[in-house]
């Protein structure tokens, strides 16, 4: 994302005021939670997703969207926006997902495919 701070750790070490002034609003949570480390993006296993929408609300990069289709309104992760948030152990979407295995990282070989 163009707006991302180039050195978020510096911002984190500063005062709150510096943090607010440097980090764009939509990335502030990510920087504060230390989730700016890139990791392969996640994909949704539709057979396990219960469509509660928690992942959409906790995603600091606004990568989960409600996608309308003619018959159903579904959740979807936009791969370009998902930054992996430091892996499954740290990513809020995985941590808060009530259905184990519904969110899985894309295998390295497929990233960018």
């Amino acid at each position: 994302m163009d707006d991302s701070p180039s050195r978020p750790d510096d911002a984190l070490s500063g005062t709150d005021e510096q943090l607010l002034s440097v980090v764009p609003p939509h990335l502030r949570d990510a920087a504060r939670l230390g989730l700016t480390e890139m990791h392969p993006p996640f994909v949704m296993d539709k057979s396990k997703c219960i469509e509660c929408g928690l992942c959409r609300e906790v995603c600091p990069f606004t990568a989960v969207f409600l996608v309308p289709t003619r018959w159903k309104i579904m959740f979807e992760i936009e791969r370009d926006r998902c930054r992996g948030c430091g892996g499954p152990s740290k990513a809020p979407c995985v941590r808060y997902c009530p259905s184990p295995g519904a969110l899985v990282p894309v295998p390295d070989a497929l990233v960018g495919a």
């Binding site: 002034s21 609003p25 606004t62």
Partner: protein, 284 residues
């Protein structure tokens, strides 16, 4: 009847009495009457609805799309909130009557908020705003006065009998809207926004059917039917005013009221974040 008996809570007054047909229709007949009055005309009217015609036009501006999505976003939330309020007042019958209606209503609240979130996401995907939370304080996303009138009126129906309020929302409001969503979904030029409208057709149909079920099962006394006619008459008028106000709002060219101007009158370039000024001069 005891002094505080609730056996007969509701009686007709001077306002509702003129709507009394003088006899009790079977609930099926009464449902047909309501559909004839509120749903069928909508099927014809929506083809000429100015908003639908506007959406079918090639020249729809981003400002118009944004205003419509923002208004619809708030309106969907408002309907969810109305039903959440109504949930406070469910007295089950002696044999568990109305429990199924309560469950349907819970389902509907989830869906109304889901629709609202879908509008939010379309706004982000179109690049109209940077963040979802900007919408909450955005001047173009606040309920119009006519929307607030509708919201307040319906919310106060919370202590009315369940079939009366179900008819007010589901039959006088939502069932006619199905035609609007269907047409708007087909005619809107922008694919993302068309998808938002189209995806609501089935769930709004479901909401209309909830109303049909409740009226058919529970709206079975002359008093209830008279009250329902009275309330639906008012709600249909409020819906009409709200629909017209949204169209007037969407077609008004007032986006420039939002811009921040320099002292010499030139427009300051927009920064993201409502009221937050990012500082780029720190060398990061």
């Amino acid at each position: 009847m005891g002094k505080f008996s609730t056996f007969k809570q509701w009686t007709l007054d001077e306002q509702t009495e003129p709507f009394d047909a003088g006899r009790t229709l079977s609930s099926k007949q009464f449902l047909d009457e309501l559909k004839e009055k509120y749903v069928e005309p909508a099927r014809r009217y929506m083809r000429e609805d100015p908003m639908v015609l506007l959406l079918a036009n090639e020249d729809v501006t981003d400002e118009q799309y944004f205003k419509l999505l923002a208004q619809r976003w708030n309106f969907e939330r408002s309907v969810g909130a109305i039903h959440a309020t109504w949930l406070l007042n469910y007295t089950l019958g002696l044999h568990g009557e109305l429990q199924e209606v309560e469950n349907m209503e819970v389902r509907q609240i989830y869906e109304e908020y889901k629709h609202a979130r879908m509008h939010e996401d379309a706004i982000l995907k179109k690049g109209y705003l940077d963040t979802r939370w900007e919408l909450h304080s955005h001047p173009m996303a606040q309920l119009l006065p006519e929307g607030m009138a509708f919201h307040t009126f319906l919310q106060r129906l919370g202590n009315m009998p369940v079939p009366v309020r179900a008819a007010a929302n589901h039959i006088a409001t939502e069932a006619p809207l199905v035609y609007w969503f269907d047409l708007a979904g087909r005619l809107t030029r922008d694919e993302t926004i068309a998808g938002v409208f189209e995806a609501q057709v089935i769930e709004e149909t479901e909401h209309g059917h909830i109303g049909e079920y409740v009226v058919e099962r529970y709206c079975n006394t002359a008093d209830l039917q008279a009250m329902t006619r009275y309330i639906c008459e008012h709600v249909a008028e409020l819906v009409r005013r709200h629909r017209e106000s949204i169209y007037a709002f969407v077609t008004a060219e007032d986006a420039d009221r939002l811009v921040v101007r320099n002292k010499d009158g030139t427009i300051k370039p927009m920064k993201h974040g409502a009221g937050i000024k990012p500082r780029r001069d720190l060398g990061f």
